[in-house]
């Protein structure tokens, strides 16, 4: 029997690739760039020099492969995360239900589009200010795919305002594909895909102009935003739109929370693609990171407890060896 696998939308694939690249970078670069590598290492094994160079003749020329002990926690985390991910992915593929908690911000997107439909007005989507190499922009484009699909079903136009030309091209293609997938290619209007300006505040002024002239009933901000966040959200509020924001920029979150109807906070923003796509591998990665947090949190608590205990421990007298308890506390402090 032939089985067919659902094709993943291009932004989801890219998002997964980017997330993997970011994870590898995070784990490997600091490990090799550590300035303590020469002092706090253990020898793993030695390669006879003759394996690499036939001219070498003595054992003294053997190449030494060392491991930076200070990066041991990173290795543990990597192994744990990898194991969790594989277990959960296998579970998800075998049909087990991986539940994600409800994200009101994502659920509200359909409501926001419904509002625009009833009011006979468009939906405005902004995929952040950064270029396509930013993971937040990729996450935003992934959400745009969902927004455009629902809007096509409702027969409601979506205006996408971009600050970067490459992002515009990607958004254009995403919306076109979503309209096709919804069975309504005629709903796609190329003129609604708009590049405004590379300049931050010229872009902001352009978006405000769209809000005031075309009065979108719903404004959806998903991506990386800076100081323009409050200007955009306040203008949207004044124009009477339902607003759904999502960003990982912590400094901008209070403005979005105060001025928007719904806000995806930090991790929720990245979890949105898993929440929407229900793709087993993406769901597994979200759940794996949750499991990892459940492991890390007790370790942090124990660390805090030990550090507090150590603060009350009298310092060792000059020359006397540290007690067994002091040594244990010291070791745990090092590891944590």
């Amino acid at each position: 029997m032939t089985t067919y696998r659902r094709r993943q939308p291009a932004p989801v694939k890219r998002l997964r690739g980017a997330a993997l690249a970011a994870l590898l970078t995070f784990l490997t670069v600091p490990a090799f760039a550590s300035d303590r590598i020469l002092t706090e290492t253990v020898t793993l094994f030695r390669i006879p020099a003759s394996w690499l160079d036939a001219a070498a003749s003595t054992d003294a020329d053997r190449m030494v492969v060392k491991f930076d002990v200070t990066r041991l926690p990173v290795l543990i985390v990597l192994v744990l995360f990898g194991s969790f991910f594989l277990i959960l992915q296998m579970k998800a593929r075998s049909g087990a239900h991986l539940a994600l908690r409800r994200l009101p911000g994502i659920d509200a997107i359909e409501e926001a589009i419904g509002r625009a439909t009833e009011m006979g007005r468009p939906v405005l989507f902004i995929p952040g200010l950064n270029d396509i190499d930013d993971i937040q922009t990729l996450a935003g484009v992934s959400i745009l795919s969902h927004v455009a699909y629902i809007a096509a079903e409702y027969d409601t136009p979506v205006i996408v305002a971009c600050r970067r030309s490459v992002v515009l091209t990607m958004c254009e293609e995403t919306v076109r594909q979503a309209c096709l997938a919804a069975g309504r290619p005629e709903v796609f209007i190329p003129n609604n895909m708009r590049y405004l300006s590379d300049d931050q505040f010229a872009f902001t002024a352009g978006v405000n102009g769209i809000m005031l002239r075309e009065k979108p009933a719903s404004c959806i901000y998903q991506g990386c935003f800076y100081s323009e966040s409050l200007i955009l959200a306040e203008t949207g509020f004044v124009s009477g739109a339902i607003q759904v924001a999502g960003t990982a920029n912590i400094s901008q979150l209070p403005f979005f929370v105060a001025a928007c109807d719904y806000t995806l906070i930090g991790e929720e923003f990245f979890a949105a693609s898993a929440y929407l796509s229900k793709e087993p591998s993406i769901l597994a990665s979200i759940k794996a990171s949750d499991w990892l947090k459940m492991v890390v949190l007790p370790v942090i608590l124990i660390g805090v407890l030990l550090a507090t205990l150590a603060a009350f421990e009298p310092p060792p007298k000059d020359g006397s060896p540290p007690s067994q308890r002091q040594r244990a506390v010291q070791l745990l402090k090092e590891v944590l």
Partner: protein, 550 residues
Amino acid sequence: MTVGVCNAVRELEEVTGRKLLDERGRLIHPQNGATGTDIYVSTSSAGGGLQMLVMGVVKSMTAESAERAALGAGAIVMDTICSNDRRLPYQQIARIRQLRPDMILLAGGVDGGTVSHVAKLAELVAAARPTPRLGLGFRLPLVYAGNRLAMSEVNAILADCVDIHPVANVRPVLESENLGPARDAIHDLFMEHVMAQAPGYDKLKTWAHIPIMPTPGAVGKLVETVARDRGISVLGVDIGGATTDVFSVFQGQFNRTVSANLGMSYSVGNVLTSAGFSNVARWMTTNLPDHDVRNRIKNKIIRPTTIPHLLEDLIIEQALAREALRLSLEQHAAFATSLKGVQRRRTIAEAFAQSGSGETLVNMMELDLIIGSGGVLSHAPRREQAALMMIDAFLPLGVTQLAVDSIFMMPHLGVLSERAPEAAMQVFWRDCLVPLGAVVAPAGRARIGRILLECTIRRKGDGRPETVTLTGGTLVRVPLGEGEEAEITIKPARGVNVGAGSGKPVTRSVTGGKVGMIFDGRGRPIQFDPDPVRRRAKLAEWARAIGAMD
């Protein structure tokens, strides 16, 4: 139609000894000493009641508001067609043709909003050219309660195929609903068009001093009046043979739903399918084999109008009733929600707890009164059984009064409340309702044997306080006679909530009834023992505790 009315009035004459009909078989009006009557009111569910098709743009917005208007007017909503119902146009057209409703309610778009979507819905109706269920000579009435700007377009599309009656928009802005004009128009059209097809209706119309209303609409009217009059939250349930109607007023907002496939005779098979056998069987106190239970239910499906003759049949019927009521309330809670698509104003405090819109209005802790109606509740062999069925099905929280409708007088009182609200209320409280008493139930799970609360009861006119202690997993009944009032002070244990918050005391006035006061310590949801023998023993213990069985 008038033949039936005359027969009923003659029976009434025999019971009351009052002459109500003259020699020609007409009602004597006005009253004169021992003859005649001042007001004659009537409701109708002839021909299966008012059957409507509802259309709106977005399912959770204007279509839902239109559905609320139709249900509030006492209609049965056959289907809801909207832009996002995931059906293709040809499927929608086929559905409209197939349904043959009595009336269509078309809504969509806020005032000044979308016109194209409303026009598309109108085109669906035009393409389907629906014919009315009753009467061949008249055009199907269509109530238009949508965007004002789309009226001319709708008129142009539909003028030659339906009879259009424009009224104010049910959703003029997304932030509020305006259901009154659409409901009134449905009532009027029901009288003029639908009821006019019934034989003898013209004659009956001249007898009635208040316009005839659809029966469920009249019940809803009464529930609304009671809630407004007393300033309380009310839940009314009418469990019938084919359908179950649920009426509620929470936060001053009236809602009605019809669970079309949940009933005790024609729909009994569907109750079993929807609830599942294990859910029905969990309420049974007797040890009957599964196949025997299934056979008895199937027998009821074949002969739906039979009533239980054996104790086992009664136990099965009451188990089915619990599940039908539970499912009806679930459906009602999903429909009775706050408005969706509304702009919100948030504060930074809501950063981590952003509640969504469309939250249900049904809050059992806030509920003050449950009214049960329908044969299985009103004619249960013991009133205690009716009380236990309602508690098991609805799981009330805090302090809630229970009552059943004695002889299904509610629809008539609903109509009467239009002309004489005070008289309607007096008859309702004194003759229509059979008060069962009050139930006190803490929220959350209850640990078996743990003390949940202590309640001090002070009966009016009797200074001696009485103390009741409720432990987890038990039911306690305290007699409190019909009409007897008492003030109760509940002191919940730590972590237990009876309405004022965790561990906080509550003082309330309660009125007694046929059962008295019931303290329910079984927890929410009720915990059943997985072992069937122990479960049955526990069910029997609970039933005996309140006198539902010997």
